[in-house]
Symmetry: C2
């Protein structure tokens, strides 16, 4: 019964460290019941992945250079509209041509290239447990769930605006699977007032998870509140907090060629405090970006460079990732599309530009489908392959995203998880030593026979293969007898079971208490309204 076995087994990849926290992977748990002479149980570390694929190309190297130079031309001659005076001041100080009336900032290529040269090539994050720390650098692969959805949906409760209760559940689900390497703001808890939301959201991330938390850039007051909660929960002094990123954020430019106040402020705040900022223009070809892949990438690249420049002008060496999120729209309706061939190509092209810079970078998949069906599955996997083949350092929206991000699906989180764990498996080495060539077994088994009982099989069968979370491999008759549940229905049972079994990580309760006390005090003082 594959599905029954996996319903008790939320943790896809067991890591030796897991037992130290009182949590054991499925395989470790199973292993504990076996006699000592049984073979080693499969353990796969999903927490540290290196991308095994040679990065793909859609452009020749000279055209990558042409796009890079075109983007520099755009910054130098057209410029960016930057709404935050402080940001314009940074650019002015660096020698950019700034017009405060029009808010236009024209940034010379020398300024941009100098800024890119100070951006770090490798960034070590500091999470709640050392085994959750990530080294974000080209060649690594970090996977994130979907992010930023206003709504949630699940088969039991239907589609609805996101609440804090949903947020809690989704952070717990994220925490339960090693292949999701950081937390994301999976859903917007709309029932919390905007001036108080960030307290609960941050405390929750620090309470039920030891992964790197996410902080929204909604004004310096909120950002610094969040930093303080995280600093307290991690038991760091100010210099310690600034030394390594303890949280991350994403800023989207307002394509084309505009950077709004909270985003620019966030870039500055994160750079000042040494926290990880992932810069991601969201460029839909034909809508807020040119209709061509090369044109959209020219724009996206220019905007990303301007944001990286602001980060580095604020503080050289500040941890910042390049990012791209380029897909197309339906030219008949304007509806955004994801997992399209154009998104795959744009992902690959973005990877070429990221390698031109030498920076770690984030890439994106997504799904436009309205429900967790074959369309949405195919879209997310297709875009994810584009990102993986592009050599993305961070893949975002890898699980749960439907409706172009307007809704986060609990069931899709689980069905996409299977795809992400498959990617993680593809990052592992494939044994090819003499023993794995199985010449003994090939001698032992007669023509037309089978290998079930071969010594070579017995030694390895428990650890040979990836064991699925949601896939049901039973035949039609057995599947029908067990209720004929489709992947969606099975996923529904799985996430419920994972939540039921959930155990929070070991968290220092004294430090967490300090973070909570800080949050409560700030709440009682009136909180921090977001700008605008």
């Amino acid at each position: 019964m594959p599905e029954a076995g996996t319903m008790n087994a939320p943790q896809g990849g067991g890591h030796p460290d897991a037992t130290k926290r009182g949590r054991r992977s499925r395989h470790s748990r199973r292993g504990a019941t076996k006699p000592a002479h049984r073979p080693t149980i499969r353990t796969v570390n999903y927490r540290t992945l290196r991308n095994p694929f040679t990065p793909a190309k859609v452009f020749s190297d000279d055209r990558v250079e042409a796009i890079h130079q075109a983007a520099l031309d755009v910054l130098e001659t057209q410029g960016m509209k930057i709404l935050l005076p402080e940001a314009r001041a940074h650019f002015r100080a660096a020698g950019a041509r700034v017009d405060d009336d029009s808010q236009m900032v024209r940034i010379g290529r020398d300024i941009v290239e100098e800024a890119v040269s100070t951006a770090p090539r490798s960034i070590r994050t500091h999470a709640g447990s050392r085994h959750r720390d990530q080294v974000i650098e080209p060649g690594a692969l970090h996977i994130q769930t979907g992010a930023g959805s206003p709504n949630v949906t699940d088969l039991s409760r239907g589609r609805r605006p996101g609440t804090y209760a949903d947020f809690i559940e989704l952070v717990k689900l994220n925490q339960s699977f090693d292949v999701f390497h950081m937390l994301t703001p999976m859903v917007e808890p709309q029932d919390l007032p905007p001036h108080l939301r960030h307290y609960d959201v941050t405390v929750l991330q620090l309470t039920v998870s030891d992964k790197l938390p996410f902080v929204f850039c909604r004004g310096t007051a909120q950002v610094e509140d969040c930093f303080e909660m995280i600093r307290l929960a991690r038991g760091l002094d100010d210099p310690g907090f600034r030394r390594q990123p303890c949280c991350h954020s994403i800023i989207n430019t307002n394509s084309p060629r505009q950077l709004d106040i909270p985003m620019a402020q966030g870039l500055i705040d994160f750079a000042r405090w040494g926290q990880l900022m992932i810069v991601t223009p969201f460029c839909l070809m034909g809508a807020m970006a040119p209709v061509t892949i090369a044109g959209a990438l020219t724009l996206s690249h220019a905007e990303a460079l301007s944001a990286i420049a602001l980060s580095q002008l604020t503080r050289p060496g500040a941890p910042v990732c390049y990012g791209a999120f380029v897909s197309n729209v339906d030219m008949k309706s304007g509806a955004p599309a994801f997992g399209t061939p154009e998104q795959v190509k744009a992902n690959i092209g973005a990877g070429q530009l990221a390698r031109r810079l030498g920076l770690p970078w984030r890439c994106s998949t997504g799904a436009a489908g309205a429900v967790n069906d074959a369309q949405a599955a195919n879209e997310t996997q297709m875009g994810a392959w584009g990102a993986v083949l592009a050599g993305a350092t961070i893949l975002i929206h890898g699980a749960g995203w439907i409706e172009g991000g307007l809704t986060f699906s609990y069931e899709k989180l689980i069905t996409d998880l299977e795809v992400m764990q498959t990617f993680a498996e593809l990052c592992t080495e494939t044994p090819s030593d003499d023993a794995s060539l199985a010449l003994d077994a090939l001698t032992e088994v007669d023509p037309g026979g089978h290998f079930f009982g071969a010594a070579h099989t017995i030694e390895r069968y428990e650890s040979a293969f990836y064991e699925p979370v949601v896939a049901d491999w039973s035949n039609f008759g057995t599947w029908a007898e067990r209720g004929g549940l489709d992947a969606n229905q099975r996923a529904n049972r799985i996430w419920k079971q994972v939540l039921e079994d959930f155990e929070p990580p070991n968290v220092d309760s004294t430090r967490l208490g300090e973070a909570i006390a800080f949050a409560e005090r700030r709440k009682s003082e009136g909180g921090a309204p977001p700008p605008g």
Copy 2:
């Protein structure tokens, strides 16, 4: 309304030649209604694909060589059990050590390597229309639907044993989409008696399709009947028929290390007549093959080499493709699994072995899922990526296969089609000329504006993006208003519409009449029972 537009548009990729046959692609049809000054409509040739990806690796080159040498060792020392005396005679004549009592044939590596050296590196097929001809060689990508299912299923009629009526519909559906490059035996028409089945099945393929037909190896009598029908329908004399493959077949060895009578006979018959044989051991790791990827590939490679050798010993230069179909089983139940990380890795490893030989080759995806849900979608796409990244020349089971091939799903044919067309789109060049960098548009559009009205967009919008067949990109409200159909339900409407709109290709009715007359005569003579 994306889905409405595509329901009238069965043909995914328009080819200029299509209009010559009185059939026009969706885009051509639309284009005909536009004023002459409108920009060029998108036309993409899905009929000739080159794989754009650098082949991936799971083994170092020296371990590929080690597997190749191990496979040669297996053939030389363990040997193959070959049940057909004529096949053993071919091997004996070539110097292999043959034991007729045990039916074991031990084949020296020199014999194998000599045979591989005569196998063609490039094979041009001769279909019913010249634009359907394929050049099968390393670097090309040919996509096939699922094949060999005893059952069919669709949302309207449910799951049932396959009939000739289903076969007719599925061949028409296959014919309607350029991205499926050849016909496959999608379903077994179980209502036709086995000694007469091949007549109707072959005539049908020649009547409603101009793609390369498929012939099962079920004894020389049936095979030669099929060859004769195809020869007559193509208007060829015997030498002309032998000159280029006019049909294809697949033989699966009986892993491990056994070749049964109809398969060996088929290899000989196809080689004699110069028809395309695709050699594919079906090796499920842990069941009929070793539990390790490297071990299963050692076995699969050995078996494929022995079959290629038989083909070449029959007639040097006979058109034969290497093939691999290696996946794993659930070690708890023995159930076959597809789209697993192990299958992806095995595909990639098989590609390394195929490149070691330098031969065109077939690779496989598949789905174990019982219905066309997120699981089955993810499985087929995952395995397909494995095959594409492996550099497969022919990808089989790309669409429609569920339940590990026990059932062919009409709806999955359509939802997988979208994935296969996306692969086809990825084979196209990505423009990166100066105009596509869109610097004019980037100047024209103000910061925070949009590109919908930019001249650069207007010039290109009708042809810029792939238009989906089944994906619905509308927002949730619109999607719900239109009935809230999931991908499966939309696919159900689509295949019905495609069948309703189906127009057969131009077929020479005189020649076809000759093939039919031959079939009728042979039927009246009692047909040709399959062996055993």
